[in-house]
């Protein structure tokens, strides 16, 4: 019952917001004090315009508003016309996000484990890590574009840079807080040093790694988009910049909505994987990230 009423409220608020967005500006002429300037469609467009833009940008309708699946080869022709159509842009951004995530998570985990288990190494690298960590990673994006060009590599490096620190710090903390008694128990049950690492230190550190996966995927997406803002040929970030340059609010909004959808899907997949991998935890702790 409570869930139903929550859902009803959520839908009602969503519809109300859309309605204000769609028709709010029409009231501006009659009651100007009620409607803020921000609702001007020039800045924020309108849901109906955004939707028709979406149909055109995704090649579902042609430029003369005909459904492309009614025309022989219409969809393919429309797709071929634009280098950075919505499908290609989404695919490129998604791919780079996943690469940034994968490289960032694996290298962050390896580094965190290494430094977390070696007092000597962490002592030596401590000042460098804290110094590097205090730089907003995004500030390095222009340098990365300069160094790696406007192709996919620079986006992956930017995403990697954002993800690797997050994962590193989590893993580092985890590797330091491995339960002494688990290590003792393992040794007393006959484990060699290598077996202790493989069967106790890695799995208990993994728990900390998994907790960082869902912020890591969001960070990776942010890294890719920022990289695309600065210089790219494809991608959703590039699409936003292009539409902005043309003063096309609807086009920017389409890109933002697609991003939101990509973000939601990615993080829900990661959360699911995370819940599965951490299924051994007590129930109340599983949902927390």
């Amino acid at each position: 019952m409570r869930r139903l009423s929550t859902l009803a409220w959520q839908i009602a608020i969503g519809l109300a917001a859309l309605a204000v967005w769609e028709w709010g500006w029409d009231l501006h002429a009659t009651v100007p004090w009620l409607v803020p300037e921000l609702l001007d469609p020039y800045f924020v467009s309108k849901p109906s315009m955004i939707f028709s833009h979406f149909l055109r940008m995704s090649c579902l309708v042609s430029s003369d508003d005909q459904w492309t699946w009614d025309m022989a080869g219409g969809f393919a022709k429309c797709m071929a016309r634009s280098e950075n159509n919505l499908w290609i842009a989404t695919w490129v951004t998604l791919q780079n996000t996943l690469w940034g995530f994968a490289t960032g998570v694996s290298s962050g985990f390896a580094l965190g484990l290494l430094l977390g288990r070696s007092d000597r190494l962490s002592e030596i690298f401590y000042p460098y890590i804290t110094a590097f960590n205090s730089i907003p990673r995004i500030a390095l994006a222009p340098i990365i574009i300069l160094a790696f060009g406007i192709g996919d590599a620079s986006k992956i490096v930017t995403a990697w840079l954002v993800v690797v620190f997050l994962v590193f710090f989590n893993t580092f903390e985890g590797a330091r807080s491995v339960d002494r008694d688990h290590i003792n128990a393992s040794r007393l049950l006959g484990a060699s040093e290598w077996q202790v690492t493989r069967t106790v230190i890695v799995p208990s550190t993994m728990a900390w790694l998994f907790a960082s996966l869902s912020p890591a995927i969001s960070f990776s997406l942010i890294g890719v988009i920022v990289g695309e803002f600065i210089g790219a040929e494809h991608g959703i970030g590039r699409m936003i910049i292009e539409a902005g340059a043309r003063g096309e609010a609807a086009g920017m909004m389409v890109a933002v909505f697609v991003l939101a959808i990509v973000g939601v899907i990615l993080s829900s997949i990661v959360r699911r994987i995370q819940a599965y991998l951490l299924r051994w935890r007590p129930a109340q702790a599983t949902g927390a990230t």
Partner: protein, 277 residues
Amino acid sequence: MPSIPPEGTAAARCRIEIEALRKSFRSAAHQGGGEVVAVDDASFRIDDGEFVALLGPSGCGKSTILNMVATLIAPNGGAIRVDGVPVVPGRPIRHIGYVFQKDTLFPWRTVEDNIGYALELAGVPAAERRLKVERAIHQAGLDGFGRFYPSSLSGGMRQRVSLMRTLISEPEILLMDEPFGALDTHTKLDMHSVLLELWENTRQTVLFVTHDLGEALTLADRIILMSARPGRVKQDFKVDFARPRNAVTLRETREYAELFSKIWHSLGEEFAKGHSE
């Protein structure tokens, strides 16, 4: 290898020998930073197949002795020999098993994977491992819980898994550090029955640390009573109740009551000393 004397001779093979053992810790700075002597001049020996309880008030150093035998901490003086060989701190002995007071099950492993852990380390083939694990699960009365994670088990069940995790590699010597200390009375009695049944079939050499006199009387052949800090061996009692024992009905017998009150008096003196400190 020391020779094993023939069955029935008075001189059974000595498995654990502790001689003038001493351990001190540096106390925290706010307590003066001085030396605290936890164990002082402790000596005793345990023969093959004996179940010995190390009994004493908390803080008397009994767990410290156990941890020194397990090579988890290094003594400051004296000697520990297992089967005549001096132990080296940090080098656990293969045929010694250890059961912790704290829950040290690996939470990311299921019950069966926890129990089979030592076999996995030793490279026992999966098929053979599965068979042994299944038998261990059955012996501990955990049928049907093999695929559960420790987080969904009760304290008593977790301690059973701990016990089987240690017993599965069939250690000849078993060190137990107040393994049932955190359990409620009923669960504790339950665990006594489980342990008695398992042990009376295998007869490993056991050193069992406890502060619970009833527990010591129920399980052990011998009780070594420790004095309050600094821990020394105060008295050595023989517990010759018939085996197999019943953990519940044993407590109703007269000889149990007699021995209980005899040791209780001696133990009470140590508790009092511990408090007056």
